[in-house]
Symmetry: none
Subunit: 529 residues, 2 copies
């Protein structure tokens, strides 16, 4: 592959990304994420601010023995020395050395307004702070990158000073000066013009650090690269303060697939979807289904008119092959679709129904009727599959529900409680079980598990992980029809089911029974009917 030194992919998920509201990473989380970032093949992992943030000092300490990086170099982030002292005497700077990383990235002020009103020092002293700190670290064998903070705003306010900052940093030995759109207010044209100017005036090696406040972080980064930058900073999944940093995966996918550049090791981009989801889990952020390239919906098509066309000619409908980023194409069954999408969906689920026109007709009609009643199969593949099986060979059944009842009552001074009683037949026996829960559906779930747990111990593996309620035709208040979508997992994969009814509890029960039935089917249990 291309020399990774030609183009830098610099990840700051662990430092700038961690500034996102509500995000709090432990040292263990950071080490695990760093391994994934290394798998992705980024050139640099900014691990945090040692000294200033105790968890980060710990991270760099443990990384020395616990992280075995194959692709990335670790970078410690920090600031230029305080005004009025020397780099050698500044404990914050010393802490950067103590992290013992090959790279140190220093944030430096490049906007006269910030130097004067935030740092409250002189323009000259600020330049001295940059020169001194960069020189000190280079003299101690570190490779130094300088993040020129608020650069674009600063360049608009006083371009001469901003350029002086760039020259000072490079003259003192910094490898790269990263132009930061710290407030995120730039549009791509602004970035292109500025990067071109700075390159022409200084000849420095430039990088880009964008934020998404105008919705243009990725575009701004690509614009900077087009204008000559050879170093981009971002975070996996675009986490970060306010609207976030540039999404690193979207950026590298664009550079590789649209600009034909090679910025990751061979084969690494194909791991992007898996890695993006793994990082989501570790940062405890719900994956964004509409995320470019790696989102669950990124290549999901409402079949409708072009269902048949998509299978023949995916290029006509997709801007790239999802396999390039490890994602899949999916066809959604919806009321816009007809036979074609039912056939395609069935095939996707492993059933070849093309030879049975009558079956397809029956299934298509049932889907349409149910959708008119409020069902949606787009987000309920498992319910669709059960319907298909029902029409084809009979619905798998592991238990036969006789009745259910839920009582919910207020408790003085505490939360209301729910109690569900389920009566069913399974394995030749009639069972009456009561389960408790902090909500009606929770209670029904517990009752069902208790009722069939002895006969189907594999039900222990099944867990409800998502539960979504939508009142349809909301103008009718509590008389409306309710649609419930449930997601269940067995620890390996997950599936979704749907339930609809005038009664919210009944709709929930329907989705729950479908989910458990499907789960038992997946476990390979022999159905009783």
């Amino acid at each position: 592959m291309t020399d990774p030194e030609q183009f830098h992919v610099y990840d700051t998920t662990l430092r700038d990304g961690a500034q996102q509201e509500g995000l709090s990473l432990s040292v263990q989380d950071k080490l695990a994420i760093a391994s994934h970032l290394d798998e992705l093949g980024v050139g640099f992992i900014e691990g945090g601010w040692p000294g200033a943030v105790p968890k980060d000092t710990e991270f760099f300490r443990r990384a020395r023995t616990e992280l075995n990086l194959k692709n990335a170099q670790l970078a410690a982030f920090g600031a230029t020395r305080k005004a009025g002292t020397t780099a050698a005497d500044d404990p914050q700077v010393r802490a950067l050395l103590d992290a013992e990383t090959p790279v140190v990235t220093l944030v430096a002020k490049s906007h006269v307004g910030h130097v004067e009103r935030a740092l409250r020092t002189t323009l000259d002293e600020n330049l001295a702070m940059i020169a001194d700190t960069v020189g000190f670290l280079v003299g101690n064998g570190r490779r130094v990158f300088v993040d020129a903070e608020h650069f674009f705003d600063g360049y608009r306010t006083n371009p001469a000073y901003a350029l002086q900052v760039v020259r000072t940093a490079t003259e003192a030995g910094a490898d790269v000066v990263v132009l930061c759109d710290t407030n995120g207010g730039m549009l791509p044209d602004d970035v292109t013009a500025t990067v071109r100017d700075v390159l022409a005036q200084t000849g420095a090696r430039l990088g880009m650090h964008a934020h998404n406040d105008t919705g243009c972080a990725v575009a701004n980064s690509v614009a900077a690269v087009d204008a000559g930058a050879t170093h981009v900073q971002g975070t996996v999944n675009g986490t970060g303060e306010r609207t976030g940093n540039a999404d690193l995966i979207t950026m590298v996918a664009n550079l590789e697939l649209k600009r034909g550049m090679t910025v990751l090791p061979d084969g690494a981009l194909q791991e992007a979807t898996r890695i993006a989801h793994a990082v989501s889990e570790l940062t405890n952020i719900v994956p964004y289904s509409r995320q470019p390239y790696v989102g669950a919906s990124a290549f999901a098509h409402k079949a409708g008119l072009h269902a048949s066309a998509i299978k023949v000619d995916p290029d006509l409908y997709q801007h790239t092959d999802p396999a390039h980023v490890g994602n899949d194409m999916r066809l959604l069954v919806s009321d816009m679709a007809g036979r074609a999408s039912v056939e395609l969906k069935s095939r996707e689920l492993g059933y070849d129904v093309s030879g049975d026109r009558e079956l397809v007709t029956r299934v298509t009609q049932r889907v349409k009727d149910l959708e008119a009643a409020g069902y949606t199969f787009e987000a309920a593949d498992a319910s669709f599959e059960l319907l298909l099986r029902e029409e084809a060979e009979g619905r798998p059944s592991y238990f036969d529900v006789e009745s259910w009842r839920v009582i919910t009552e207020s408790r003085p001074g505490g939360d209301a409680v729910s109690e569900a009683t389920v009566k069913l037949r399974a394995g030749g026996e009639r069972v009456v079980v009561t389960g408790e829960g902090n909500g009606p559906v929770n209670a029904l779930d517990h009752a069902l598990r208790t009722a069939i747990g002895a006969l189907y111990p594999e039900i222990d593996k099944l867990e409800l992980i998502d539960f979504r309620v939508r009142i349809l035709d909301a103008a009718h208040g509590t008389d409306a029809v309710t649609r419930v979508l449930v997601e269940m997992t067995d620890g390996k994969t997950s599936w979704e089911t749907v339930g609809v009814g005038a009664n919210i509890i009944e709709a929930s029960w329907e989705a729950l029974v479908d989910a458990v039935t499907y789960g038992l089917l997946r476990q390979g249990g022999a159905s009783i009917s």
Copy 2:
């Protein structure tokens, strides 16, 4: 303001936006969303595809009498006639006329690959389909826009043909030809170059329709405008197929605040945050906190180093004043940001609290605590007002609830039924009442009315008209916290209340009691405490 005809803001939330996986809007939802879009001041609202989608035919029918648009014109979306027939004889085209909208937007093929492999017709016939259909609709008094589908890919494949499509459409009378990046694979440079070429070669009035597959939908739209397009299409909150359409609000905020253009009516942009959230609720999509401009985190700063600096000099840290889009700056460590909005909201509801610092502090703290627990007052003014009164002079109370209980049970061969028993004190008496309903909340509503109907006959005027459920922290399945928003009317105005709890029934009861209390307050009933 600038003549809205100079620049078109065209919203397709109800048509292209509705293509998002999992999104299914009822006609009622669409009408409600359309009102919000009109409030935002967009020039055009694309309501759907009448004829092809039965719900959309219904939408346009009801819109005629139920929608009172002040700013926007309604547009019906559809396709050019089928090959081998005439526009006048094509029922799909007729249906577009029958929608009786001032504007009709036609999607037309502009990519030779699509004409030949998807439509399976000749290049000439496709041009005839465009000319015929546009001419037919213009001849019938409609204003026609043409969406040139897959334009950018088509222009790369066969630019001459793509340009012919543009000319054919305009010669037949189309007002605007919208260049669509249907597969979403473009980067801003590609868009700039193509739009400039097409403008130079045809002189047509051009529009842009971007998708976010490369994470550049907004940037692509802005690039198109910079290159001479005077019509942009997008959806509120960027909903849409796969990775979504260009986020309309981000786009217009960029054009107004960064490019100094006036594309919305005076004062409309300041409603953006409120409207974005209202549309989120109606589309039942969890608001994206990192959304540019209007997201909850968009102006949330991790106070840390620059807390004091931010208050003195917000421009140093914010790319724009959040008030321009109706959002607030928030400091995540301190609570200073809440007071201002509490004062403003109170004044809006008719209470001047500016003289009572202590009251404002107490109310702000309660709002913060409740919001941390899952409450939202953005869509629940009446609950906020009751909280304010409670802190100021004591909460109005018309009945004192002792306990409630709901039993829901399955019925063989029919819908489940619910029965609620409520025990309360009102007017010096203790009442025990049971109400029935087709759902638990319906049953509680009936029980409550029966319990206090004799004492407060005015409760007959009160009607529940909306009931929305959201499970917060959905990753935890049925153990999650539920938030319920209820809307009630007295026939003249309506108000909204909120309830939160681990138990969905309890959360619903809380919102219901608030709604009835507020309703009785409005009726002027003397509170019993």
